[in-house]
């Protein structure tokens, strides 16, 4: 892939990325919990945990969880594909945040519905930049 994204994405780019996943469906607020430190120690590695309330049965489960950012060079962060074998819809990882911004998580359920939540993170630059 060689397209050059701008150094900072725009809210419009994030909406577009979300639309690619959600299609024409409505996204409701709720059911998704995002755990992120409100002040990150370093934007290179920000621990994130996302969970969705769901019995995780064959009949009713979380199909996928998608994470987006508003101001990173590109909006997509990661998509987790789950299913009833997960037992619990809860995933943790570490993400990069280019600057202070809002992170959005969208849960995709087996009934085709989409749910979302957002969390804001403050990101500071290291005090002294080195030549490495």
């Amino acid at each position: 892939m060689t397209e050059q994204a701008p150094a900072t994405a725009t809210p419009a780019a994030m909406d577009e990325a979300v639309r690619k996943v959600v299609g024409a469906s409505k996204v409701s607020k709720g059911r998704v919990t995002l755990e992120l430190p409100p002040l990150s120690e370093n934007g290179n590695t920000v621990p994130l945990t996302v969970s969705v309330e769901s019995p995780m049965t064959q009949a009713e489960h979380v199909r996928a969880i998608h994470i987006f950012t508003e101001l990173n060079p590109q909006p997509d962060v990661v998509s987790f594909r789950l299913g009833p074998r997960a037992g619990r819809a809860r995933v943790s990882t570490r993400i990069r945040l280019a600057n202070t911004q809002t992170v959005t998580a969208i849960g995709e359920l087996s009934d085709g519905s989409f749910w979302s939540t957002s969390a804001a993170v403050v990101v500071t630059l290291a005090a002294c930049l080195e030549d490495a």
């Binding site: 290179n44 060079p73 990661v78 997960a86 995933v91 943790s92 990882t93 990069r96």
Partner: protein, 106 residues
Amino acid sequence: MANALVNVPPRARRGEIIEIKTLISHPMETGYRRSQLGATIPRDIIRLFVCTYNGTEVFRAELHPAIAANPFIVFSTVATESGTLAFQWTGDNGFSATESAAITVD
């Protein structure tokens, strides 16, 4: 092959939800950084992580450059039967790594 650390409980009760932690060595070069001379350093990331349980896929993650270097992913699965949990990471420049862990389910 890159180093990976996986943490799977060696034993579990049937039906128990177990937590699996995975950590793999990889720079996850974003493709947005520039060298000292101003040239863009090309993207080089892990794009896909798949976990199978006795051959059946139970979890998948599609990664983008915003995942931090040395990707760390923690997820859960239901302990259904004894056997092998297999992990595979694939990415740019033909990157491929695998790891596995045995589990006894009573």
